[in-house]
């Protein structure tokens, strides 16, 4: 069973695409959470219920949007590829492993695309959630969440760097700089609105 799934994934080049989607949407999720929490932090919102609800709402929206968008686009792409292959081979491929892979690959890719922002968002929200549950934290929960977001964005940069053979530290610092610029922009806008 595992061998068959592995074979189908290899046939559809699923691993590479799922990894790319995971990083892309994971980056989206981390940056969205960072933006939300910095927004709340800058506006001095103290209600953890409001912060958690807003963050969870965003995480769920990103998860569903990630699944649906990836599934629709990948299904269409796979169907097109299968049609082209059928034309080249002058035969119906319904009984082939290619047809099975064309059905399975979009589900797996969509799952990777939707789980990335969900897992990352939950990790970032975790300190605020713990604080909400009454756990005493060494510093303000929002600050820990912001630090978590920076660490995750740095890690995603390191991961991308390792994939494309770049120096991992430089790649990590680059995504960290993007996160810092985003945070700066949000705080700047908040100051302007005050």
């Amino acid at each position: 069973m595992f061998n068959k799934i592995h074979f189908l994934f290899k046939l559809a080049s699923t691993g590479d695409i799922a990894r790319r989607y995971f990083v892309t949407n994971g980056f989206d999720g981390a940056l969205a959470m960072l933006g939300l929490i910095i927004g709340f932090y800058g506006s001095n919102t103290t209600s953890t219920t409001i912060i958690i609800t807003a963050c969870f709402g965003t995480a769920i929206a990103l998860t569903i949007s990630g699944f649906v968008s990836a599934y629709i686009s990948e299904s269409a792409e796979r169907k097109k590829e299968l049609d082209e292959l059928e034309q080249a081979l002058l035969k119906n491929m319904n009984d082939s492993a290619h047809a099975q892979a064309a059905k399975l690959a979009p589900i797996f890719i969509a799952a990777a695309n939707s789980l990335a922002p969900l897992i990352i968002s939950l990790l970032i929200i975790l300190p605020i959630w713990l604080s909400h549950l009454g756990v005493t934290l060494p510093i303000q929960a929002s600050l820990i969440s912001i630090i978590f977001a920076f660490i995750i964005l740095f890690s995603l940069g390191v991961f991308i760097g390792r994939l494309n053979g770049q120096f991992w530290l430089w790649s990590g610092i680059r995504t960290l700089i993007i996160a810092i610029i985003t945070a700066g922009l949000i705080l700047g806008v908040e100051k302007l609105l005050e």
Binding site: F7, K10, L11, E84, L85, A88, L89, L90, K91, M93, D95, S96, A97, H98
Partner: protein
């Protein structure tokens, strides 16, 4: 009672799976078999291959099913070798 000992097939297949996986999957279908694949022609999306299968009792139907499952189609049977265990009564 006769058994198929050797068969040579002309097959059109997509680039994926590779001939290595193709040969491996076919070899797993028949015990004590030897599978050799030669690529004859490569096109944009397909390749034409010749599969040589040597074995003791080759099941053509299971090989054909495997080829279809892997996305290929048998264009022609180019060579067969069948052996009989009975005495010749001509």
């Amino acid at each position: 009672m006769s058994s198929l000992r050797r068969i040579v097939l002309d097959v059109l297949k997509p680039h994926q799976p590779s001939i290595l996986e193709f040969a491996d999957t076919i070899a797993n279908q028949c015990d004590n078999s030897r599978v050799k694949i030669t690529v004859v022609e490569v096109d944009e999306k397909t390749e034409t291959i010749v599969i040589y299968i040597d074995g003791i009792d080759i099941s053509y139907s299971s090989i054909e099913k495997t080829i279809i499952k892997l996305g290929g189609s048998v264009h022609s049977i180019d060579e067969v070798e069948v052996s009989s265990v009975n005495n010749c009564n001509v």
